[in-house]
Symmetry: D2
Subunit: 381 residues, 4 copies
């Protein structure tokens, strides 16, 4: 009911405030017997860690993850019981937030929390902070391992496609991007020239106390047909929920998305064709559907785009209001991400992994694994 749990079969509950003692998650429903690679989990967390470059907040957090439960001490395998992953907060400096104890920061969640609960963790945004995503990323790292073990060809890859006026979309082949190329540049844009331009733009914005938004692209390859629950829990509907549940995300489009209406139906439809092989595999000769039709994966690459607004924290005086009824000027100071896009990349990948592992376990529960769509033509005659 209260919205801190995600997933139906692989259920992740995150906890923790930005400036409280700790952040983390409990994963319930993890399949048993999986040899969890904790080094890989830690490495995944390192990709969202603050302080990685001069493009992101200098908050200094080691983000060392501690496993409190759910693992067999001897073998390191999952027990099938809840896995609690804990990360202590270290570099908290609540003091730097004292000025806005009673002031609502524009386009932040401060007023919303106060209106909802009558109380809020004003130090750094509490749970509306991007710090809450530590638990998501830790859980997503576990999810990705489980998926990779089941679907060996799986490749989940997100990257920064646009920052403010720099749009690298046309320069990037979405099916050719690999994570190493994305991580090679602190902007996490795999096109070197656009990455350089983005970096320049971000540093300029940072220097003037401003911030920038942009787009992020997500492509998932290697997901077989048949995943996703039709009707309300369509695979794309849950991916959209997952991404729009991230701080600063303001929109999601799948496949052709908002450009879809540029075409007519005849132009837009994706023709089916069985591909030769043992067994033959279904494919479509275009992928305007973005790998999902009727809410169910069709075996083609899953292709989404998400937009993130410019960071709400800016270091300039702004008109605002306090919690006592006064209109005031706010002068923000302290640390911030001048552009959330680079750090959003692993978070988006983690959310995708959470949606997909849940879809797989739901499918296995209702239909079994293997399921019909894994074996080529469904009704050979």
């Amino acid at each position: 009911m209260p919205g801190n749990t995600f997933g139906a079969a692989f259920r992740v509950t995150t906890f923790g405030e930005s400036h409280g003692p700790a952040v983390g998650c409990v994963i319930d429903g993890c399949p048993p017997g999986h040899p969890l690679d904790l080094v890989a989990v830690q490495a995944f967390l390192a990709r969202r860690r603050p302080g990685q470059s001069n493009l992101v907040t200098p908050r200094d957090e080691a983000d060392s993850v501690e496993v409190l439960s759910g693992l067999d001490a001897e073998s390191g395998r999952t027990l099938g019981t809840p896995i609690c992953l804990l990360v202590r907060n270290q570099d908290q400096r609540s003091g730097s937030y004292a000025d806005w104890h009673h002031i609502y920061r524009p386009s932040h969640a401060d007023f919303g929390y106060d209106a909802k609960y009558g109380i809020r963790a004003w130090q750094g945004g509490g749970r509306s902070s991007a710090r809450e995503t530590v638990g998501r990323v830790a859980a997503g790292a576990v999810a990705e391992q489980l998926l990779a073990a089941r679907f060996p060809g799986l490749r989940i890859c997100a990257w920064v496609e646009r920052v403010h006026q720099v749009d690298a979309r046309a320069a990037i082949d979405p099916l050719g991007v690999i994570r190493a190329a994305v991580d090679a540049h602190p902007t996490r844009c795999p096109d070197a020239s656009a990455a350089a331009a983005m970096e320049t733009a971000i540093l300029a914005a940072k220097k003037r106390g401003d911030s920038l938004g942009g787009n992020l692209r997500l492509v998932v390859q290697g997901i077989p047909p048949g995943l996703g629950e039709p009707v309300f829990d369509k695979l794309d509907a849950l991916l959209a929920q997952a991404l729009l549940s991230l701080p600063a995300c303001k929109g999601v489009e799948v496949g052709s998305g908002f450009a879809g209406p540029d075409l007519t139906g005849i132009e837009h439809n994706d023709p089916y064709a069985w591909q030769p092989g043992q067994p033959p595999a279904m494919a479509t000769t275009s992928n305007r559907s973005g790998g999902i039709q009727g809410g169910i994966s069709n075996g083609m690459p899953i292709d989404l785009r998400a937009v993130f607004k410019p960071t709400a924290t800016v270091l300039k005086p702004q008109a605002s209001a306090d919690d006592a009824g006064n209109n005031v000027e706010l002068q923000a100071k302290g640390r911030h991400d001048p552009c959330v896009l680079p750090r959003a990349v692993p978070i988006v990948e983690a959310m995708a992994a959470l949606v997909l592992v849940d879809a797989w376990l739901r499918q296995r529960g209702q239909v079994g694994d293997p399921w019909p769509g894994l074996a080529g033509p469904l009704h050979p005659r």
Copy 2:
């Protein structure tokens, strides 16, 4: 788990296949004692009914709703128990689908269902058909009545903003649109000139067996601050799930959406200001947030846009594949909506009502009603 239920507190489960005996829903969690206006429910259903104009499918369905449970027979009030709403299918003509019993229609859900379940209701798409939305609209009509009784200023209004190359966005004042103006034209575009152009385009597409997509705008006024669950069940995240769970929807954006990154943070932030009044009310002097910040309503109009692809059913020969491994040519025939946008309007309004009534009951459960944000400044000193 299987995804046919929506909502946590006001739970709607839809059932029924397009060409089965009936479609409908069960609402669980409806507050008791509400005098349900069944005439209004029926009128809401009439707005999504096929056969309303020559712009939509000629399938002829009266869509008379029968209430099987949950109402007090004497007073017509809700009992607080499950409300089952039933609509019989009448004009089924499964025969017209016989040709594609074994052929997957491009960009439809046929292959996905088969890959998932190994069986599918091939007559007219089963549950992937827009006919499934009858249950959603019936439930949404109930939800809207409950919301209107609690929030007298509530106004949920959606309209067609774009069809193919006709974009009426600049011509429409989003806060001034009312439902009557939307329903005045069969396209459900409230700008007369754009509506006429859209009608021409749709009829031309229909004539050549083609189809068109477009955008739909949703504005909700009168929702107080404090609704929506932070973290995974953010109000915008659930609205996005709700809309992307509709057939043909391929994207959602909130507030500034995909245009947000055109601005920098300083330009994009929405300044807060208490408005004079008894009590003073919070407002922002711009609404790029679309009425939702940190996943929680802030009292400003909720503002979303959704894109719908061109209808997948087109009456031209298309390359496709059958369920036995053969690549074939498909010649679709029969009835279809050359453009789903006009009928999507009430469906989107219904989904919005479902998200909002659920958010309200969740808030009442955890925090109570009235809650802090309803009473002006939160912490007067």
Copy 3:
């Protein structure tokens, strides 16, 4: 949230009031491709139907079930989509309840519903009536078919063990009872001599307008080890919830139950022993655990007992109160079951099937099927 849905993976939502238009259920999560035997579903419903004998209420209901969705019309197989099962109410006679429109019947749910909702379906108890169980039994009949297809040795059998002062416990071998023997006598007690005594007692109570309670025994054979979720959703905890959710049920015990403390731990423990076979199977040489240890099935027969209080409807003047603050005398009249036990038998079997099919699908989702415990010794060396 509102409690009209049961199950996590195989989700059953019942709807309908005793004297409304209809009762029924929606099953969400049914595995696809199962050839549903509707004749068997109808036969299962006939076992709980009123009017079967002079021991039960003479209300005359055909209880013909109509399938509104979820079945493939050609093959009769389940589609994997929601199955709506509908039974129209026929013999309603609300008139006979008019006298207690404003009076709370003692030990009924009338006052509770009014206190909770401020409104109630006073005609015949609304949803607190045993008529609500029609939806459970229909769903349970589906569940049992699914279980039988997966676990061929499955045998779910309940019977009446005690009515008032007639206790047949010592006369019945719990592992030898079959459903045909239970149904052979209208009391549903498989011991002929006790059955006759029970019948005499029930008819005498009926004649004097009184009612009787008793015990019901449930044994499930053929469930393999490994089903049931540890911690909160233990298999026995969910069975207890399932049975105590039935009208008039006031207690449940598992295995040794309330007699367990008669023994010490040394006396009470069930020794394990691998039984010869290919592969060897685990068994315990006693079954005081009732087939469930730590909330998980161990492969031994599941063995429970439930107690049902004497029917609250009695045809004698009783002290009671009305809804306006007055203490009044109530003279009940009309139809009633002088003893609910005989009709409770199929209802209890249905609830057991619902718990077990859900446990199976949950297990398949998290662990897979087959799972470790199906293959003999777990860690051969």
Copy 4:
């Protein structure tokens, strides 16, 4: 799905293995603004702590609770966000379990976990250990505080009623027992004479390596009418689930329970009578219903009994089996509770608090607070 979460509105997820790093819980859905009394939470935990007396296991655990999230650091008030409560394990001695790394202890959950997951935390039972209940008790302590703030007359009290052959039932007035009297004796039986006899019996059993079971009584006073969800989530059904989800619990009865059928309906019904007052309050002149009718509280004391089997751990040689297919003799050693009843008392109270706080928040969500039944006669004329 996996069963480690309890509650629909006030959701508690426990985590942790008996001999892992920690145990604890996450509470999601806690109302905001409550000044949490952490000293009282710690005191509640102390009541279930091992090592309190020579009647219980000597395992030495301080069970200091750490709050990782969900509290406002300044005011100590709840934020409405997830509350993570953590207790580190200290006195683990896994070594003492090494002998049964591969042997299933009779009437324990060892085999079940292995059959279910193919892996198990063999050191001390993992999550089937009573140590898992630390998280429940911590959460229950929070729940009780919330309930007491809303329902000032609330009194949740459990006690030991029977141990093996010592049955104190007749000697105790259930409505007169207070927690101080229960805690005054290490057996937690409020009748001094029976308590002494129980102590003697437990010590004798302990000395011979044996164990004892018994009954526990739970009475909750001060719950108003109207709580509990009819149909599947009846208040008594959820209480039964809650208690049967505890280790060693094998049965639950409500009100008259298994003695109900001793009476006929005329004898058994609880007559209603409005009690003078402003406003008049409903009461029944007997309470065979145990405070719950139709699954909804009726304002009378809630009255349950639960049975706990003798502890499965006994320090005598027992016939058993290993995980490789061999039948072996097991010689248990190490620490154990010769009787779980005394420590079960606070655990049962905690579970009752969890069920009740959840029922309250669900009621507030669907119906509002105050709700109809709080204000005397429902329909004055």
